[in-house]
Amino acid sequence: MSRARHPLSWPAAVVRHALLLASGGLMLLPFVWMTSLSLKPPAEIFRTSFSLLPAHWYAIENYGKALTAAALPRYMANGVLVCAAILALQILICAPCAYALAKLEFRGRDLLFGLVLVGLLIPHQVLAVPLFVLGYSLGLLNSYAALIFPFVVSPFGIFLFRQFFRSIPDDIVHAARLDGLSEFAIVWRIMLPMAMPAVIAFSIFSVVSHWNDLFWPLIAVKSPNLMPPALGVAIFRGGEASTEYGPLMAGAVLVILPLVLAFVVAQRWFIEGLTSASLK
């Protein structure tokens, strides 16, 4: 590593670890507390003395209640469905456009790229009222389609793919054309496989954003059967379980668990994917 020429003296190294363990401990505290409460019976939760582990394990009751009383499996399945549909449509629609912008000459190309840049400028919440009206007039509200349609085209996706496609040499496109590949085949069989790092970064960004999104689902759906995880857990809290911290915390654990597990496995990809959006 670049600064290794000045290795820390051992007291300095101890201080470094102590500081980072302390700040890291504070960052993790809500996660630890959440897990701890999710294992405890109500009597221990409402006791004013604190302990990390329960005296009486109550995990089965809490997680059981979160899974049955709150339709949590349904919320999570909705999340998987909505995130997968959004991501698939985004790639299907953005990749060909990005290829055209990166490698083809056509009238209006600069104008189209200008549109993409304007799209990047706009925070999505600004679009809520007109998209609600659009969804209403198309009869899409309170359906899976309502959760999906505002996000099928991603200016960030087009921008990111275009940047990556531009770095792929034109010679490769020529060779593919000489081999008789159509322009569409070039996008799917040459460009996207070569742009895998960009595809993975974008996929993580997209899935994490929409799994966690509360704002648009709150507007788009009313039926509990359609709610994605963030909205579902909010409704669970607002309902009968508002004071039942055990099941509530169990529900929170289950909602964040898929992303946290994926993050532990693919830390670098997650950090790259989630920060790339602000470097656009």
């Binding site: 809500p30 060909p96 055209a100 549109l115 304007v118 085209v153 993050f263 602000s278």
Partner: protein
Amino acid sequence: MRMAIGARYDASAGRADVDPSAKVLPARRPGEAVAAVALAGPATVLLLLLFILPVAAIVAIALTDWQFGTKSLHFVGLANFEGIFADEAFVASLRNTLVYVSIVMPGTVLGGLAIALTIESGGTLRDFYRAIHFLPFMATLAAMAIVWEALLHPTIGLVNGTFAAIGLPTANWLRDEATVLPVLAVIGIWQNLGFAMVLFLAGLKSIPQDLYDAADIDGADRWLDRLMTVTLPMLGPVAMFVVIVVALRAFEVFDTVQILTRGGPGHASEVLLHTLYRESFEFLRAGYGAAITVVFLVIAVTLTLVQARLIDKRVHYQ
């Protein structure tokens, strides 16, 4: 992977018999325009329908007295804008948002910088420390807000329990007008700190080793000397960038307010996006909500344009 492609490309370009002009795609091949329409058409139509048209619509709606569910609609000029700035709740919302940003932004940037510098100062466990500090940024905030509510609970919460044990004042943090906004800001810092840290870590990596070597020769060989003479000056542009990005994220605070306080008590934690949501979708005052949206849009676009200028000037880390 990109390097491998680059190497192949360079090898072929170096051959004497390759016509250099052949690397450029021939302009306007027959059929290229047709292919471009087929490839870019769907995205173009959807960009217009889902982004450009709605932005035009929001500005137009802001100039009317439209309410959701009614058929009547009148042009009222700037009356909605006069209305929101005369509305105590909106002014409180705008002021609260600015206060929130002015706590979260410096807290996140300075905290993220401190943690990045501490991680970078040694060679061990870097990935581990980076991961645990980054975790809150990607965990579902709606779920974590509920956990924070438990932590901040007036009687059984860990915060009050700990504060009471060490003699600090306790409070009903989320129900007290004086504490609610700072407490929400602490949650905001907790959530965004790892994000700022990652941006600073990348900035630190991009500082050329030469500069540290030169500083060594000049006698700046202690950690603090190198920090003051090389690291912090070189990090200035990255810091500017992080400030804007974090400010943008802080302006978009919504989930914690919606779940924990609904803007209360009173208007003490009312923030722009929550007011926008309430006016538009709970009170169904579309024209009024649209005027708030336009204010939000102007702030966000201004910040994003400043951020784009910073990137264009190559003052970011890659």
